[in-house]
Every structure is written in structure tokens, then in C-alpha cells.
Symmetry: C3
């Protein structure tokens, strides 16, 4: 129940980030709507397709399309006030990342998959939506450049799985994993933490 509410917050948040990206590319309203759906629901769809976990969430619950697309469209109306809300959005986006990660881990656990795949499932759910958004806007995906984005997802997934493996109560483990992941992401944003980069410019391959 709590997870469901968090999920709704997360897809709305991702829809909003999609609208802002679409606005920077001057997309029209239909494009904003579609990019909102793809960004918010793309991660879960990719996970389900990769794991063969049919039907997809939004095919079963079509109103999610309206919620996320609607959130993206509403963003157009309030965008003129958005520069004051920028930090709120980064906060919501970080919530999306950790919530999606935990949901993705959950689904892989229900399918009784190995640990590495559970973490991968969390990461795909958490990160792919944003990657699709960036590809469709013709950017290098943030995932591959940004501060601890995928790292936060892996960290959250490991805490969640580890806590459950120790037989701790589910809600406590879930809460702790999300709060810890969220904190790490916000600290990374605040203090500009990033993983070491690999810079290679020699050779022509």
C-alpha cells in the first residue's frame, strides 16, 4: 500500500522531468505527453520485457498512461514557476529512482531469480526510463555521465536484498534502503560527488 503510493509519486515525478526535457527541445503537447509516459513507465517495461514478465504494468493498468502523461501536460502550465521548484524536482526524481529500484528488485525476487539479476532488475527499473528520455531527446544519457545515478540504484538494491536476507521486517528494510539511497543521491547532488571518470582519447577505434 505504502509502496503503491510511492510508486504513483514516482511516476508523476518522472513524468514531470520528461516534460522539462521535452520543453528544452520545443516538443509539442503530444510529444510532451508521450515522453512523459515513456520516461515514467519505460523502466518497468524494459524490466518486464527482459525478464519475460507479462503483461506489462501499464497494459494491465492503462490509467497509469493518463496519470503520467497528465502530469507531463500539467507541467507545461506550471513551468513558468518551475525555476523556483528545481530542487523539488531533483528530490522527486531521486524518489523515483529509489522507489523504482525497490519495485524492480521485488519483481525479480517474486520470480525467484539469482541475486545479481535482482539487483540488475532494480537498476533497469530505476534507470532505463531516464535513458530512453535522453536518447529520444538526442542527448548522451545522464546515466552515463551523472553523479552516482546508477550507483545509487545498486546501493539501494543491495541494502534491500541484504536486509531481507537477514530476515529483518520487510517494511523496515524497504524504508531504510530507500532513505539511505535517497540520502546518498542528495548528498551526491549537493556536494557534486561523482565516480572517477575514464578518459581515453587515443586511437581511432
Amino acid at each position: 500500500m505504502l509502496l503503491h503510493i510511492l510508486y504513483l509519486i514516482a511516476i508523476v515525478a518522472e513524468g514531470i522531468t520528461a516534460a522539462l526535457a521535452a520543453g528544452r527541445r520545443n516538443m509539442d503537447w503530444v510529444g510532451v505527453f508521450l515522453l512523459g509516459c515513456i520516461t515514467a513507465l519505460g523502466g518497468g517495461s524494459a524490466r518486464d520485457i527482459v525478464l519475460g514478465h507479462y503483461p506489462l504494468t501499464w497494459v494491465q493498468h492503462p490509467h497509469y498512461l493518463l496519470i503520467t502523461g497528465g502530469a507531463a501536460l500539467l507541467t507545461i502550465a506550471v513551468a513558468r514557476f518551475m525555476h523556483r521548484l528545481h530542487k523539488l524536482f531533483l528530490f522527486l526524481d531521486a524518489i523515483g529512482l529509489v522507489v523504482f529500484t525497490v519495485i524492480g528488485c521485488n519483481i525479480a525476487m517474486e520470480m525467484q531469480l539469482p541475486v545479481i539479476i535482482i539487483i540488475a532488475s532494480g537498476m533497469i527499473t530505476g534507470c532505463v526510463g531516464g535513458v530512453l528520455r535522453d536518447i529520444l531527446c538526442n542527448d548522451i544519457p545522464l546515466l552515463f555521465r551523472s553523479e552516482l545515478y546508477a550507483t545509487v540504484s545498486i546501493f539501494t538494491g543491495c541494502l534491500y536484498i541484504g536486509g531481507l536476507a537477514l530476515d529483518l521486517p520487510h517494511n523496515m528494510v524497504m524504508g531504510t534502503a530507500m532513505v539511505a539511497g535517497l540520502t546518498l543521491r542528495l548528498l551526491a547532488l549537493r556536494f557534486d560527488w561523482s565516480m572517477p571518470k575514464f578518459i581515453y582519447s587515443r586511437g581511432d577505434q
Copy 2:
């Protein structure tokens, strides 16, 4: 039967548009062939993967690969005369859009999916091929910029579903939906109609 002939026209038309896009990027013949297949058959494939509707059309009917790739290759031969035929291609492309949309709606209806998903299925079938073409050519997909592209697909799908819900005869509904969608697209192209754009340049997110 009529739908099947229209389908063949549509995949040939999409193969031709792919070849023209490939030519602007100086791709080689194999690339032209492949991009033709991906553009013409990518929409249906995406729909089938998303809905878990296996096997994919072209896996069941492999000669579609030869038809679409062949159309793309033939385009190379006649491209020097293409600037006179530009309007014909836009017309064929618009036919592809509405035909694919109706076929996509049909498949979702056979699977007894909810209305929103039927429209989404039509839109995925109609639009994804062109999106893949644009991503592979490193452009921002036309879908997100162009005149009423996705809108035409949604419009066509709504007319088609609405007509069938009123128990009107199938062929009449199908014909009307396609002609109306086609007309809307052509008017949009002719008079440069477009949806309002969302322009947002503030903030760095």
C-alpha cells in the same frame, strides 16, 4: 484482404522513407536495406514485444524482410528522380501511418485489451518505426516535432474504435477512419498545422 494489400503498400512506403533518410546520411547499401526493414517492421515488432504477442509478424512471414529491404534498395536506383516525387512519398508515408494504426488497434482488440491500450497499440504500430529510423540516423524523432503525427494516429484509432463500438459495419468503419486520418495528416502537411509547442529553457535540469 483489402487490409493486407494496404499493409503491403504501407511497408513498402516506409521502406522508401527509410532509404531517403539513409541516403542523407550516406549509408551503404546494406545499411539502406536494414534501415528499410527496421523502419517498416519496427512498429509492429515493438507492439508485439510490448503486448507479448508472439511470434512477430516478420518472423512468421520472413518475405516481408525482402519486400521492405528490396523497396529500400530500389529507392537507390530511382532516387535521382525523387525530388519530383516528394509529395507522393509524404502521401505514402501518411498511408503507412493510418494503415499501421488500424492494424495495431485490431491486434489489441483481438487480445481483448482495454480501450486505452488499443489506442496505444495503434500508435506504437504507426509511429515506432519512424522513431527507430530517426534514432538510428541520430536525429530527434519526427514524432516529437512534426505536424500532428501522433495526433493523426490517435485520431484514427479513436474513430475506428468508436465506429466499431457503435456496431457499424467493419469495412465502412475502417475505411472512414483511414480516410479521415489521412485527410487530417495531409491538411496538416499542406497548411503547416501543428500542436502548440512547449518551450522551456530555464533551469539546468
Copy 3:
């Protein structure tokens, strides 16, 4: 057995090419790891999703993620010596192409699919990983520009299928197809062979 060893060499080689591409884009270590996995395992995943062949290889054998990601990370350590090894990498990448092609053909044959689909399956397995790498790095995929890349895959697949159709011994056919494909690719690289290009700049469509 031999094929399995070749497969491991191929995914390591593809992981290394991904790391070099990531380094040119200044990605961080997590990005290098992920891009390694996507490049090395993306072709097989795309094939399995398209053919409905579940579960995916790496979901069944999760340690492949660690092998390919690990190979990509190790590349960071040795990259300073890489410019001397550039030819070795092109060689390894070509091995990846032909090995993946044969494996892809094999899987489609086990599923008793038609000949065209068997060749397509080989090509998807051989080429898609590199295409994903290039899209995620925001390049036009090499596949659509480079010397005989897809052509080599088709050539290898045809030799392999043709040999088996003649009831020749499996290992001999496999070896011959791979060596011939590899030779063609290396000759194309050495002598700058390429397919004729299609250059079209007229019109605005």
C-alpha cells in the same frame, strides 16, 4: 565446448570495445561497466526478445554480467597501453562478430525457424550490441557506416547454414564459416573495402 570458449572470448572482446567507446565520452566507471554489459550481451538479448526465446542468456547465467563488466573495467587499467593493441582489439571485435553470428543462427535453427530468420537471428546477435553502444554514445551506429560489418555477418551466416544443409560435419562447417567471415572482415579493414554508398541530399523529407 569450443563454441562456449569462443563465446567467452567474444563477450570479453565486446566489453573491451565498449570501454574504449565509453572512455572517449568520459563516462565514469559505473557507466563503463554498464556499457560493457550492454554491448557484449545486448545482441543476444535483442535476439531472444525478438524471437520470444526466454529466459535471456544472462538472466540464466548472471556471471556473464560480471565477466563483461569486469573486462570493461580492466580495460581502464590497461588503456594507457591500448594504442599499441588497437589491431588486437579490431581482431577480437571481428571474432565477436562471427562467433555471435554463428550462435544466433544456432538458436534460430533450434527453434526451427525459416532460413531468412536464421540469418537475421545471426545478424541481430552479431550486430545489435555494437549498435546499442553507438546509440548510447550518441553516434551514428558503425553498422550503418562501416566496412562490411553487417555484410560479414550475413556472409558467415550463409556459409554456416549452407554447409549444414549439405550435411557436412558441424564443427568443420562452423570453423570454416567463422574463419571465412573473419578473413573477409580483416581484409575489409586492411584494404578499406566498403559497400557502395547511397548519397542523397535533395528534397527535405
